[in-house]
């Protein structure tokens, strides 16, 4: 007993070491088990880079070609691994270039820690060279942020940053550290943060809500599950599958929820929202109970709110209390982490099949197949479709690849048609819709999961927003497969111009460079496909490549994505053409 006590005391006793603030930053990262970080050096962060040089056997720093690329790579890393992604940049423009990635991570609940250098504390507010108020700028797009001006505050700030980024509903955090704090020596000691007094990461499930939800679900005759990324973040895939199967309820996904249940699962009835599948959109307005799990009723999912599932009782499983009743009024809110609440509700749920109800989904799928899917996947007319490219990738990957998409038509087509066997396989910019996300995110994903096949799919527009990250792929030898679906248009905007602006194609036509030459300029193997008969072999060659590979597929110029719920329309007004 006595020796036990002594041992415990030894553990608690703080062992300190006198080191610089910049070394402390690197040591904190090591203590948080960070092995890869993405960033770009500059004046105010140079002391940290000097330490990264010393610790390069412990932390691999990936030099991206732009700080925005660093954030998206960190996001891709986080999304495929569930771990916190880390990006680092200098003050001023380095810091402001992080903003898009922060906003993207905030709206898509991605755990990310960004560390920025800042001018020395005595220069704060003096309009010093490369000074910018990044804490002020990043406040609305971070879950938490802070500025550190003393070396002694660095360990606690970073410990808190990692804890907040990862816990509860994850999100991006920014820690801004002045240059003098980086130089200052202090007695270093790192303690992981496990609690912040004012912060409740996982709300308590209110007594009786599980029972109330179960009662409604058991009575339902036409229930529909709509799930989101909450399942993926909480790693509740097994519990979710068990619930879906036991209750026999058709389940549809938001794009960030994709892959949490395999595409081939008989109860997976497809994608929700603006370019989602016909059946789940139509039947949202016919179900008697709508069970939302880990999703936030984004306007792209709901369409016109006044005409969204008004007939249904709504049950909302959610970790963030602010999402309850934010857009859709719920009858029962089950607060908590999805893994725990789904596990708890399972024994209360009756086994069911809902055969007739499920048949309605099948019938509507047949209509969608005839009117849309057949033409997308098995076109007979001239001109390659985006859909048939995705189909070829499915054939080659057997559904095991992680698909990283950018934003636009190709994204919707990829999400609609990609087959996913494994969770955390659909990495895309959902909420913010950040063109340029795909390529750098794919780098992060590949580095976090080197054993997985990672296919980056972009359009010719978004690809050119972060095309410089080909340099990162080359330098890092990241075996990312890069597909550009080139229609020489900003396709989604063009589609809207065609449908809603009488074909006035204002600034949507792209005069594109020789993409193959550009890839080859970065010493990346590259090929261009323009004909249907070349496609299968080219995709096969790309997928079999052991190193990075660039494939440009020239697709029909004015292809459109259907189905479509026009902006502001009800989900039942979904159009097939």
């Amino acid at each position: 007993m006595e020796t036990q006590t002594i041992k415990n005391q030894e553990k608690v006793a703080k062992v300190t070491e006198r080191i610089s603030g910049s070394e402390a930053i690197v040591r904190c990262l090591i203590a948080e088990d960070v092995k890869i970080i993405y960033g770009y050096p500059g004046g105010a962060i140079m002391p940290v880079y000097d330490e990264l040089y010393k610790y390069q056997d412990k932390i691999h720093h990936v030099l991206t070609r732009h700080e925005q690329g660093a954030t998206h790579s960190a996001q891709g890393f986080a999304r495929i691994s569930g771990k916190v992604g880390v990006a680092i940049a200098t003050s001023g423009p380095g810091a402001t270039n992080l903003v898009t990635g922060l906003a993207d991570a905030q709206i898509d609940s991605t755990p990310m820690v960004c560390i920025t250098g800042q001018v020395a504390s005595h220069l704060l507010g003096s309009d010093a060279f490369q000074e910018t108020d990044i804490v002020g700028i990043s406040t609305p797009v971070t879950k938490w942020n802070c500025q550190v001006t003393r070396a002694a505050d660095i360990p606690a700030a970073l410990a808190k940053a990692f804890y907040i980024a990862k816990s509860g509903r994850p999100g991006p955090v920014l820690v801004d550290i002045t240059k003098d704090a980086q130089f200052e020596k202090f007695d270093f000691c790192y303690e992981k943060c496990t609690k912040v007094r004012s912060y409740v990461p996982i709300p308590k499930t209110i007594t009786g809500t599980l029972e109330a939800a179960a009662k409604i679900i058991n009575k339902a005759r036409k229930p529909l599950i709509v799930w989101g990324q909450g399942i993926v973040i909480s790693e509740a895939e097994a519990q979710f599958k068990a619930l879906v199967e036991k209750a026999g309820i058709p389940a549809a996904w938001t794009i960030l929820g994709a892959s949490a249940l395999p595409t081939s699962h008989p109860l997976n009835v497809g994608m929700l929202g603006m370019h989602g599948n016909y059946a789940p959109n139509k039947l949202t307005n016919e179900c008697d109970v709508l069970i939302a799990i880990g999703m936030r009723f984004d306007d792209r999912v709901t369409g016109k709110l006044d005409e969204y599932a008004c007939q249904a009782k709504v049950i909302h499983f959610e970790i963030d209390p602010a999402e309850i009743d934010k857009n859709v009024k719920t009858d029962v809110a089950v607060l908590g982490d999805a893994k725990a609440t789904l596990e708890a509700i399972l024994p209360l749920i009756n086994t069911n099949i809902h055969k007739e109800w499920h048949q309605q989904f099948k019938d509507l799928y047949e209509i969608e197949y005839e009117k849309v899917i057949k033409g997308d996947l098995h076109p007979t007319k001239e001109g390659l479709t985006m859909g048939e490219v995705i189909k070829e990738i499915n054939i080659q990957s057997k559904g095991d690849a992680a698909i990283v998409t950018d934003v636009g038509q190709h994204q919707m087509i990829a999400c609609r048609y990609a087959e996913f066997n494994k969770t955390k396989s659909n990495i895309t910019s959902g909420g913010l819709g950040t063109m340029g996300f795909g390529l750098p995110a794919a780098i992060g994903a590949k580095m976090a999961a080197p054993d997985r096949e990672v296919v980056s799919i972009s359009g010719d527009g978004g690809y050119q927003m972060t095309i410089q990250e080909l340099g990162t792929i080359f330098q890092q030898k990241a075996a990312v497969k890069i597909v550009v679906l080139n229609n020489d248009f900003l396709g989604m905007v063009r589609q809207w111009q065609q449908m809603f602006f009488e074909k006035r194609y204002a600034s949507t036509e792209m005069v594109n460079p020789n993409f193959v030459a550009i890839a080859e300029g970065y010493y990346i193997k590259a090929k261009k496909v323009t004909k249907r008969e070349e496609l299968a072999d080219a995709v096969k060659e790309m997928m079999e490549s052991k190193e990075a590979y660039f494939l440009e597929v020239c697709v029909e110029k004015e292809g459109n994505v259907f189905p479509m719920v026009p902006s502001g329309a009800s989900v039942s007004e979904i159009r097939l053409a």
């Binding site: 938490w144 500025q147 004012s198 602010a322």
Partner: protein, 176 residues
């Protein structure tokens, strides 16, 4: 019933951190909501700050705003109340030429009747302080403005609630 705009006070108990004001005000700014008044002060609990924010909005929207405020990491708890549920005060300061105090009998009557307090008097000016409801301070302002006011300022609303807030108990549960 909850869609009609009315005045609400939002009380936010927070950790006392740099930047939190920015974070909280951004929640209003982003939704294009005007803050009628804002006061930040220590609270009944050591090292816990209290924001008192007055807004004119529909109850449904106030509830959503409360959710967004509570979501901030360093916010301990946020509440909203209508004006009937709180005891509140606003303070007004009036700087007026001293000569008026002696030349205009009417001013002395106004001061007496309004229960305003003279904070200081010197050769050039005197300062009146009046605490109460907004309407009382506005009324006093209207009366005095006929004579000329050198400077006028009004504080944000501060309030205590009729019901118990139980922040200490809440903090106790957080600490355990």
């Amino acid at each position: 019933m909850n869609k009609e705009k009315q005045l609400f006070t939002i009380s936010v108990y927070t950790e006392n951190n740099i930047g939190l004001l920015n974070r909280i005000s951004a929640i209003f700014q982003r939704r294009h909501i005007n803050i009628e008044s804002l006061n930040i002060s220590p609270s009944e609990i050591e090292e816990v700050a209290k924001f008192t924010i007055v807004v004119n909005m529909a109850e449904d929207n106030v509830k959503k705003i409360i959710g967004q405020i509570e979501k901030q990491v360093e916010v301990i708890k946020a509440y909203y109340h209508d004006l009937d549920e709180i005891i509140y005060q606003i303070s007004g300061l009036f700087k007026i030429k001293s000569e008026l105090l002696f030349e205009e009998r009417q001013i002395q009557n106004i001061i007496k009747e309004s229960n305003a307090r003279i904070v200081t008097v010197n050769k050039e000016f005197f300062v009146l302080e009046k605490s109460g409801k907004k309407e009382e301070i506005v009324a006093l302002h209207n009366q005095l403005s006929d004579f000329g006011i050198m400077q006028y300022t009004r504080s944000g609303l501060i309030a205590v609630t009729k019901e118990e807030m139980k922040i200490s108990e809440l903090l106790e549960t957080y600490n355990n």
